[in-house]
């Protein structure tokens, strides 16, 4: 090992310090909101909560989950994420497989049809009118169908499939397997790593989306999603947030919780699944992202 110069040492200290600051700045908001959500709502009003709850309680969560809309929203969000991811990933892989088959008769035109949609789209209003015209307003299918396939994901899976030797398909063909069986029994299992990555991308997308609920399902309380409910709470809160701050100071209110503490609990409920799976999945994400970056 070489001896470090003084300059290197200064640089190193500075660098480590900066990284620690970055980590703190990134984590603090999450920890703070978690602490507030676990703190007694009227104690919170006194201020001074940092990243630890002062008077621990679960009342904010109990109250949030008691809103009639919320259990439905949980159910719809989970259903949407599970079904949307399963159907989406399967469709994407199927399209990628067919486009990747060099002998497929319409390979070029189909590929071009998909690629064009990466650069031109109808836009907000025509999309909205299409959804209305198809009768998908206030319909669960609006969460699954319009965003079923993204050409970018097709490209990522296809470039992974290119690495699979075609001999495998040929020998299965000789054994009498049809194209669908080859896809299902051979190609799909071999693509497990990239399928996992894309599934996670699609799942996070479904979990996090709120705008389609806002646009297409806001008049059907039984179809709203968690993110949309949080957005509603948030837009009410920001409209009156400055007032909220002072009215929260009144300790004689009869409500069990404050709107502020409810909002914090809701924020955590919406974030929790991501925080829970994050440590396990983040290396897949990075892997998938690197594939995407290199290939596109």
């Amino acid at each position: 090992m070489k001896k470090k110069t003084a300059g290197d040492l200064v640089f190193e200290v500075f660098n480590y310090l900066l990284m620690i600051i970055l980590a703190v700045v990134t984590l603090y908001p999450f920890l703070h909101v978690l602490a507030v959500s676990l703190n007694d709502p009227y104690d919170t009003v006194k201020g001074g909560i940092t990243i630890f709850p002062r008077k621990f309680t679960l009342i904010n969560y109990i109250e949030t989950l008691n809103y009639p809309q919320i259990p439905w929203a949980v159910l719809i969000t989970v259903l949407r994420t599970v079904i949307g991811t399963a159907v989406g990933v399967l469709s994407t892989a199927m399209v990628a497989y067919v486009i990747n088959r060099k002998d497929f008769i319409a390979r070029k035109p189909v590929a071009i049809m998909f690629i064009i949609t990466m650069y031109v789209s109808g836009g907000l209003i025509p999309d909205y009118m299409l959804i209305r015209g198809l009768g998908l307003m206030n319909n669960f299918l609006v969460y699954i169908l319009p965003g079923l396939i993204s050409p970018f994901n097709v490209i990522v899976i296809k470039s992974y499939m290119e690495g699979i030797p075609p001999d495998l398909e040929e020998s299965a063909m000789i054994d009498g397997a049809n194209d669908f069986l080859i896809f299902w029994k051979i190609i799909l299992p071999l693509c497990a790593p990239v399928i996992a990555t894309i599934s996670l991308f699609i799942a996070v997308g479904h979990w996090n989306s709120w705008f389609d609920t806002y646009l297409y399902c806001s008049s059907e309380p039984k179809l709203t999603t968690l993110q949309y409910e949080l957005q509603k709470i948030l837009s009410n809160a920001t409209a009156s947030s400055q007032v909220d701050y002072y009215s929260n100071l009144d300790p004689n209110r009869t409500m069990k919780v404050t709107p502020h503490s409810l909002r914090m609990a809701m924020t955590i409920i919406v974030t929790l699944p991501i925080l829970l799976v994050y440590p396990f999945i983040q290396r897949y994400f990075i892997h998938g992202m690197t594939i995407g970056a290199v290939k596109s």
């Binding site: 025509p126 948030l234 400055q242 992202m289």
Partner: protein
């Protein structure tokens, strides 16, 4: 290919055709039919009649749009927030990647990276909630400012139009900084290690090597990404602005997409909204083609 051969091939590929067929139908309905909707921009669309049976009005809506002061406000806000994102948001991931690369303690490096990616995976709704909490009158930023005696009264960040652009820019940086470093870190790993050895022999220090080897090594990536983001300046989206704006900040928050949403769907002026959408698409396509041409010219790398 004669017809007998063709039909034989079609029959042999019947499963492949069956597998792709539903998705071609899907593609036509959900991606190509909306393109027909562009026609609406040149019509006076009245609900209840089919699209081929509407009154044609030429460029009426475009003319009306270019006479609308709100349109210019939306355009101004879009461009300002785009450029602020570019000026402040673009260099930071490069700097972070360079600095992370200098950290030799692998587990520390990995921990910092893992933490920095986290906000990318939470929704903008959650980020908006976190931001309004941190910036609230009793939030941590106001507490720090008051402790340092920089202000005597809490600042109402979310209700002050002059802070809005900064709030959008910095929450975006907070959310995506770590994630955006991935591509640069990948580029760094492909730099030839012999270059570093040679520089060490020449007596270069850590900082020197970072500036003279690592930075030039990732330059092609930097330029491609820069051109790409210039091609996307009008595609700023609307999520952040929609979620972070308050009644007091509407004037500085409205971007093109919010303009389309407000006038197109909000006030049910479908033709007008579509015209604004067509305008946006055309500008963005022109910018993309230009960016692509420019990239090919300067770096030899084509993106499309």
């Amino acid at each position: 290919m004669n017809s007998a051969k063709l039909s034989k091939k079609l029959w042999r590929q019947r499963y492949l055709i069956l597998m792709i067929f539903p998705f071609i139908i899907w593609l036509i309905i959900f991606r190509y039919v909306p393109l027909w909707g562009w026609i609406m921009a040149f019509q006076d669309y009245k609900p209840g009649r089919p699209i081929w049976n509407q009154e044609w009005v030429g460029f009426k809506w475009f003319v009306e749009m270019f006479q609308d002061p709100d349109f210019y406000k939306a355009m101004r806000n879009t461009l300002i927030m785009s450029f602020m994102g570019l000026i402040f948001g673009f260099p930071l991931p490069i700097i972070l990647a360079l600095l992370l690369n200098e950290i030799k303690n692998i587990s520390f490096k990995r921990t910092v990276q893992t933490i920095s990616y986290l906000p990318h995976f939470v929704s903008w709704v959650v980020v908006a909630s976190l931001v309004s909490e941190i910036l609230s009158p009793s939030g941590v930023i106001n507490q720090i400012l008051q402790k340092l005696h920089l202000t005597n009264y809490p600042i109402m960040f979310m209700a002050e139009p002059r802070y809005f652009w900064w709030i959008v820019t910095f929450s975006d940086i907070w959310k995506e900084l770590g994630w955006n470093t991935i591509i640069y870190l990948a580029a760094i790993t492909s730099i030839n290690p012999e270059l570093y050895e040679a520089a060490t022999v020449d007596g270069a220090g850590r900082f020197r090597k970072m500036i003279s080897i690592t930075l030039p090594g990732i330059m092609p990536t930097v330029i491609v990404l820069l051109i790409l983001s210039i091609g996307n300046i009008i595609n700023i989206g609307f999520e952040k602005q929609f979620l972070l704006r308050t009644a007091a900040t509407r004037d500085v928050a409205d971007v093109i997409d919010l303009y389309i949403l407000t006038y197109g769907i909000g006030t049910v002026r479908y033709s007008f909204g579509t015209a604004a959408g067509v305008f946006k698409s055309v500008v963005s396509l022109v910018l993309l083609v230009f960016a692509n041409w420019f990239s090919k010219k300067t770096t030899g790398y084509r993106m499309m």
